[in-house]
Symmetry: C2
Subunit: 499 residues, 2 copies
Amino acid sequence: MIFNFYLPAQQVNEKFKGYIHKNKKVLLNEFKEFLSIPNIAADSVNIFRNAYFIKKMLHNRGLSAELLSADVPGSSPVVFAEIKKPGATKTIIFYAHYDGQPVNEKNWAQGLAPFSPQLANDRLDRNGKIIDFPNDNNIKDEWRLYARSSSDDKTGVFAIIAGYEAAIKSEVDLNANIKFFFEGEEEAGSTNLGRILLKYKDKLAADLWIICDGPRHVSGRKQVVFGVRGDMNVELKVYGPKRPLHSGNYGNWAPNPAMQLVQLLASMKDKNGYVTIDGFYDDVIPLSEQEKKAIADIPGIEETLKDEFKIARPDGEGKPFLELLSLPSLNINGIQSANVGSMAANVIPSIAIAELDLRLVPGNDVDRQLEKLKDHIRKQGFYIVDKEPTDEELSNHGPVVKVSTVGSAYNAQRTSMDLPIAKVVANRVQATSSEKIVLLPSLGGSLPLYLFEQYLDTKPITVTIVNYDNNQHAENENIMLRFLWEAIEIVAAIMTGEY
Amino acid sequence: MIFNFYLPAQQVNEKFKGYIHKNKKVLLNEFKEFLSIPNIAADSVNIFRNAYFIKKMLHNRGLSAELLSADVPGSSPVVFAEIKKPGATKTIIFYAHYDGQPVNEKNWAQGLAPFSPQLANDRLDRNGKIIDFPNDNNIKDEWRLYARSSSDDKTGVFAIIAGYEAAIKSEVDLNANIKFFFEGEEEAGSTNLGRILLKYKDKLAADLWIICDGPRHVSGRKQVVFGVRGDMNVELKVYGPKRPLHSGNYGNWAPNPAMQLVQLLASMKDKNGYVTIDGFYDDVIPLSEQEKKAIADIPGIEETLKDEFKIARPDGEGKPFLELLSLPSLNINGIQSANVGSMAANVIPSIAIAELDLRLVPGNDVDRQLEKLKDHIRKQGFYIVDKEPTDEELSNHGPVVKVSTVGSAYNAQRTSMDLPIAKVVANRVQATSSEKIVLLPSLGGSLPLYLFEQYLDTKPITVTIVNYDNNQHAENENIMLRFLWEAIEIVAAIMTGEY
C-alpha cells in the first residue's frame, strides 16, 4: 500500500470514462488495425506480425515490451511488459490472448471477412447495416465491430493496453506493480504456456493474475469469474469400406461408417442432454455453499437466451443454466462424412469424422475423462486405434475408430471467492457499475488457468468483458463498442486499485 | 425375322472382336474426347455440348440423330436415333445416360481431375501409374481410364454407338429395327424422362428396352439384369440455436443439433444394418422361386468384397449379399454439421444436415416409404417442417427437422425372366462369353425403369457392362479398358440377335 491522494472510486472512474470518450476515434482506428492482422495460431508469420504490433502499442504508451519464447519451433511468442511502482507491495499481472479461432470465411455474412474489420450500426442479423468508420468521436455505443477476435480476445489485449493509457493519462496513480502478458496460442490449446511460465517463473512473479477474456453476463452486467472449466478435444474417425461405394450396389451389405459413428455418438447422451458414459459425473466436486449462494444471486437468463437463440426446450430438464454449466460436458463440435447439399451423391462413405469437445469441472481429470470415453466406445463394440488402421486391422475388427486428442487437454481451475486481493478487484469492478456486478464461481468456457496455480503458485481470476452475443468461435464475430469502452474503463479501475 | 445367312453366334462375335481390336486407338481417343466434356445434369451448357457430341458420333456412323426435349426449362435433351431394317418385325431400343454424378474435385487422387481423362497402367491405388495415351493399337486390357462417367454411364453411350459401328463394319446384318436413346439427367433422378416417354410415345415404340448401365458381376462375369431397386433421396436438416454458440459458455444447456440428428439417425437402424422403422419391410414382395434359383446359381462374392474393401463384419448377419440387396435399404449418403479437422472450432452448431438414400423393392411404394420415415421421425419427438422454420416454430417446438425429398423418387421394377425376347438377349450375351453369364433378378442400384412399363407398356432389361471396382458415384471413377471393348462387343452381339 502506498500513500497517495485517493478520489472515491466512482469519481476516478469518471475520469477514465472522460478520457476514453475524448479518444474514441483514435482508439477505434488502432483497434481496427490490430484486428486486420490474421491471427490463427498455426499461421506463424502473421502471429509474429500481431506480436510486433502489440509491442508497438505498448511502446507508444511508454512501455518497453519483450517477446518471451517457449523455444519450441512454431510456437507463438508471449508479449511481456512491466511497470514497477516504487513502494508498491503487490504485483498484478494482466493476461489476454491475441490469437483467434480458425475461420471458415465462406460462412461469414455478405460484406464481412474475418480479417477486414467492418463497422455496422447494429447487429447485422437484426437490421444492422455496414457503415463507414467515422472521422470524429461521434461514435455510437450500440455500433458493432465485426472481425475474428474482435471479442475473443483482442478486446482483452487492447483493453489492457488502452486501460493503462487511460489510467496514466487521467493522472490517477497506480499503486501496484503492473505486468502485461499476452499469449498467442490460447485457441490452439495453450500448448506452450506451461513451458513459458516455468522458464520465466521469476519474471512472471505476481500476487494475482487478471484474465481479461470471455463474455460478460447475458444480462449485460459486469462480471468477475473465479474459475473456468477444463477442456479436451477428441476426434473420432470411423472407417468404412476402403473406398466410397455405390449405395445401391452395396447398400444393406457394406457397413456405413456414418451410421456407425452416429450410433456411437448417440449412445453418449440421453435426450435431456446428460452424458450416459459410465461414471462421467462421479468425480465431480459439488459446489460449495458460498458458490451456490453466489449463483443464486445471479439473475436468471434462461428466458432471454431461449428467445435470443429460439430454443424451445433446453437440455437439462429445466435445471438452472449455471447449475448445468457447473457440470462436465460433451459436445459435438462438428461431424462430417462424404457430402451434403448439391455435392451429395448416393454413396456409402469410406470415413466419418466427429470432433468432440469435453469440458471438465473441479474433481475431473483429463486422463480419467478420456479413459471413460474410450471404455464407453469399446463397450459399444468398437475397436480403437490411435493411428490410421492397417488393412489387417480393418479386415479383422469392425467397426474400427481412431480416437485422438487434438491440442492440449487441461483440468478445471477455481479460485476461492474469499481471497482478499481478489475481493479488491471485485470491488473496483463494482465501482464502475451502477448495477450489482455478477460474481461467478466458474465460467462455462475454458482457459488453462490451472497452470498459474500449478507452475507459479498464483491464483487467477477472470474479468469478462465482451457482449454475450459476440459470436466468438464462429462466423460473424463482433463486439458492441460500448463493451470495448467499458473494458478499457474496467482495466483502468483495476490497475488503480488499492492493493 | 428376316432371312439371312447366319454364322454361329460365337463366330460372329469373333468378327466384332477383330474389328474392335483393329480400331482400339481411334475408339479410345474418341471416348477420351467424350469424357472431357463436363456432364453434371445441372450444368446445362455442358450438357448440351455432350448431346451435340453424341449427335456427331452417331452422324459419323451414318445415323441421323435428333434431340428430344421435355419442353421443361433447364431439362437435358434426349439424343435419339433409329435405323429401320426392312422386313424386321421387332424393335430393340438401346438406352444409356450421358450425365454423371456431381464431383468433388479435391477428393480425386493426385494427377486426376474429373474431366481431364487420364490413362493408368493399373488401378492407381494399387501401384498403377499414369501413362500417356498411346499412338498405336498396342493398348493393354488391364489399363484404366480415369474420369467422371468413364463407367457410369458414358461407357454405356459409347458402347451402344461403337457396338453399332462394329456390327455394320463387320458386315453382320441387323435383323431388328434399332433405336438409340441417350438420357441426360439420370443422375439427377430422371425428372423429365416420363414426360419425354409420353410426348414421344410413338417414336419410342419398341419390343424391348436394353439398358446399358452398371457394373458387371464382381466375379467379372457378364450379366443380364431383370430389375432394379427404386430410389428416393431425403434430406434431414435439424435446427439448433439461431447461431453457432461457444460450446463452453452454453454447453449442457443449448441443445446441439448434431447430437439430435445423430440420435435420430441412430434410431433408424440396428447394429446389424436392419432398418428399425416400423413396417419398413412389411410390403416387400418376396422373391419368386425362379428368382431364388437364379440367385442361388450366381457365384458368391462376399469373400472377394470383404477382402477388396477391408470389411470385417458386413451388415445383415452373414446373409447372402444378393438376398440383402433384394430388400429395401436406408443409407446415410452424407452428414455435416459445422467443421471437422483443422477447421473445427469449439461450437454448438446451428444446423446439422444428413442426406439419406432409400432404395425400394417390388411391393414398396415411394409415398408409403416416405410416410413410414416421417412417422418414425415424429415418434422420436421431432417436429417436422417442409421449409425453413420460422422463429415461432423454433421457439415452440423442439427439436425441429426439415424433411425434404431431393430429386425425383421412384419405385422398383422387375421384368419376368421368362419373357422370350429377353431370353434371346440373354443368349446373345452368353454367346460372347466362355463362362456362364449371371442372370440377376434385380440390381441393387436404381434406374427409373418403371417408366417404360407404365408409360410405354414395354419391358426393360439391363445389360451391365463395367468393372465392379469402377468407383462410380465417387472420386477416381474409372473403367478397365477390357470392359470397354467387351461392352462394345456385347452391344454388337445383341444388335445382331435373331428376334
